[in-house]
C-alpha cells in the first residue's frame, strides 16, 4: 500500500508538467517571432524534439553546411601520399593474364583446355545448323526446330560439316525435338546416267527424274564421285522398291 502514489502527488506532477509545457510553448513562440523579424525563411520541417528540449541553442546561428565539390567555396582536401597502387594493378594484370593463358593451354589429347573442359550440354545455343549426336552413331542437324538425320559420312562431308562442331548430348535431349526429313547425299559418276542415294554405307538407285522429284531431291544434292568408288558401294533396294535393278552397272 505504501508504494502506491497518492492523488496529491499525482496532482503536483501534473502541475509541474503543465508549467514546463507552457514554458516550452512560450520559448517556441519567441523563436518564431525572432525568425520572422530577421525575415529568414521558415524551416520546411518542424523543429526536432531535441531542438525544443534545448531552447538555449535557439539563439545560436544555424551551423554552416560543409562546402561540397562543385560549391564555389570548396577546396580539395590535401592529396594522400602514394601507396604504389600502380604496382599492385600491374601485378594483378599480369596475374590475370598468366591465368588466362594457362587456362587456354590444351590439357587433354583432344586439345581441350581448362577454360572449355566442362561438359557443354548447357552451353548449347539452339539454332539452325546445330549438330547433335546421342548415344548412337547417328548425327543430326537441327533445321527449323526439327532434327534431320545426316544419313551418311558422304552427306556429312558433302555439307561441309566438321566433327568438332558435333555436340554429344543425352538421348533424352534429342527426344525433345521433332524429327524432320533425313539429309541424304546423291551420288553420280560421270560415265553413268544413274543417280544413287546414299543411306548409311549403302546406295539406292533412283529410278527416274519423276521419282527424284517426288522424293524431294534437288540437283545441288548430287555429288559427282569416282565411278570405281560408286561401284564399290553395296547396292540396296532401289527407289521405288518395285523398280528392280538398274539397267547396267554404276
Amino acid at each position: 500500500m505504501s508504494d502506491q502514489p497518492t492523488p496529491r502527488r499525482s496532482q503536483n506532477a501534473d502541475e509541474v508538467l503543465d508549467l514546463l509545457l507552457d514554458a516550452l510553448l512560450e520559448r517556441n513562440a519567441q523563436r518564431r517571432r525572432r525568425a520572422a523579424a530577421t525575415q529568414k525563411p521558415a524551416p520546411a520541417k518542424a523543429p526536432k524534439p531535441e531542438a525544443q528540449a534545448k531552447p538555449e541553442d535557439a539563439s545560436e546561428p544555424p551551423p554552416q553546411r560543409e562546402p561540397r565539390p562543385g560549391d564555389a567555396d570548396w577546396t580539395p582536401p590535401p592529396a594522400v601520399p602514394t601507396m604504389g597502387l600502380h604496382r599492385l594493378i600491374w601485378r594483378m594484370l599480369l596475374a590475370v593474364l598468366v591465368v588466362t593463358v594457362l587456362i587456354n593451354i590444351p590439357v587433354t589429347r583432344y586439345g581441350v583446355s581448362l577454360a572449355r573442359i566442362l561438359p557443354d550440354k548447357q552451353q548449347l545455343v539452339v539454332r539452325d545448323g546445330l549438330l547433335l549426336k546421342g548415344s548412337g552413331p547417328e548425327v543430326y542437324r537441327l533445321e527449323d526446330e526439327k532434327l534431320r538425320w545426316v544419313s551418311s559420312l558422304d552427306a556429312f562431308h558433302h555439307l561441309g560439316l566438321a566433327w568438332d562442331d558435333v555436340h554429344q548430348v543425352d538421348d533424352a535431349y534429342l527426344d525433345t525435338f521433332e524429327r524432320g526429313e533425313p539429309i541424304h547425299v546423291l551420288l553420280k559418276c560421270r560415265t553413268s546416267p544413274h543417280i544413287y542415294r546414299l543411306e548409311g554405307d549403302q546406295k539406292r538407285w533412283i529410278k527416274d527424274m519423276a521419282t527424284f522429284r517426288v522424293e524431294g531431291h534437288q540437283w545441288d544434292e548430287v555429288r559427282f564421285v569416282d565411278c570405281d568408288y560408286l561401284d564399290s558401294i553395296p547396292l540396296r533396294t532401289p527407289i521405288p522398291a518395285s523398280a528392280g535393278m538398274p539397267p547396267d552397272s554404276n
Binding site: P69, W74, P76, L85, W90, L114, R116, D120, L124, V125
Partner: protein, 228 residues
C-alpha cells in the same frame, strides 16, 4: 607501368585530378596515360571474356573491347563537349576528353577488379547464358561507377562557371546517351564471349538487339524458354 600511376591519382586523389584538369595542368600527359591504361586494362579483360570460347576469340575480344570503349567515347564526346560549351563551359576539347577518359579508365579498372570473379565462373560453370549475364552485370556496375566519376568531375570543373546546374543536367542526359551508344556498339562488335556451339567469328550479323538478347538470356536462365 608508369602510365598506370594515373589510376592511383584518379582513385585516391580524384579531387586533385579533376582540379588539375580544370586548371589545364598536364592534360596531354594525363590523356596519354589514361588512354594507355584503359586500352591495356580493357584488353586483358577482353581476353578473359573470350577465353570461354577459344584462343582466337580471346585474342579477338582483347582487341575489340578497347575499341568498344574508345569508339563509344569518340562518338559521344562531341555531343557532351558542345552542349557543355552551349551552357557556359570554358574547357578545351582536351580537358573535356580528359574528363570523359577518366570515366573510361575507372570503368576499365573496375572490370579488371572483377576479372578474378569472372575467371572463377568461367572455370566452374558451363552455362553460357549465365556467363553472359554475369558479364552484362559486371559491365553495368563498372560503367555506372565510371560515369559517376565523370559526373563528379564535371561538377568540380564547372564550379564557379556559368550554367553549372544546367551542365550537370546535360551530363545526366549524356550518360543515358553514352549507355545507349555503348550497348549498341557492343552489339555491333559482338561476339565478345562467343556462343560455345558456334564456330569462331570476328563479327556476327547485326540482327536482333542487345536488350532483346539480355532479356532472352534471362528468360532461359529462369527456365521460361530456350534461346534460339
Amino acid at each position: 607501368m608508369k602510365a598506370l600511376t594515373v589510376i592511383e591519382s584518379i582513385l585516391r586523389n580524384r579531387y586533385q585530378h579533376f582540379v588539375a584538369i580544370r586548371d589545364g595542368e598536364d592534360v596531354p600527359t594525363k590523356l596519354r596515360a589514361m588512354l594507355l591504361s584503359s586500352i591495356l586494362l580493357a584488353a586483358v579483360y577482353g581476353a578473359v571474356l573470350g577465353s570461354s570460347h577459344s584462343v582466337l576469340q580471346a585474342l579477338s575480344s582483347a582487341v575489340k573491347l578497347p575499341i568498344l570503349f574508345l569508339a563509344t567515347l569518340a562518338i559521344c564526346s562531341p555531343t557532351l563537349y558542345f552542349f557543355q560549351i552551349l551552357f557556359g563551359s570554358r574547357q578545351t576539347i582536351g580537358q573535356s576528353f580528359c574528363l570523359m577518359l577518366t570515366a573510361v579508365t575507372v570503368t576499365a579498372v573496375l572490370l579488371v577488379a572483377f576479372a578474378p570473379v569472372v575467371l572463377f565462373f568461367l572455370l566452374t560453370t558451363a552455362d553460357y547464358q549465365l556467363f553472359k549475364l554475369l558479364n552484362v552485370a559486371v559491365f553495368a556496375i563498372a560503367g555506372l561507377r565510371g560515369v559517376a566519376f565523370l559526373s563528379e568531375g564535371i561538377k568540380i570543373v564547372a564550379a564557379n562557371e556559368q550554367g553549372a546546374k544546367a551542365r550537370r543536367t546535360v551530363v545526366r542526359a549524356w550518360v543515358l546517351l553514352y549507355g545507349l551508344v555503348g550497348s549498341q556498339m557492343a552489339w555491333a562488335l559482338r561476339p565478345f564471349v562467343g556462343a560455345p556451339s558456334l564456330p569462331f567469328e570476328l563479327f556476327r550479323n547485326l540482327g536482333g538487339s542487345f536488350y532483346a538478347n539480355v532479356f532472352a538470356s534471362l528468360g532461359e536462365i529462369l527456365g521460361f524458354w530456350t534461346v534460339h
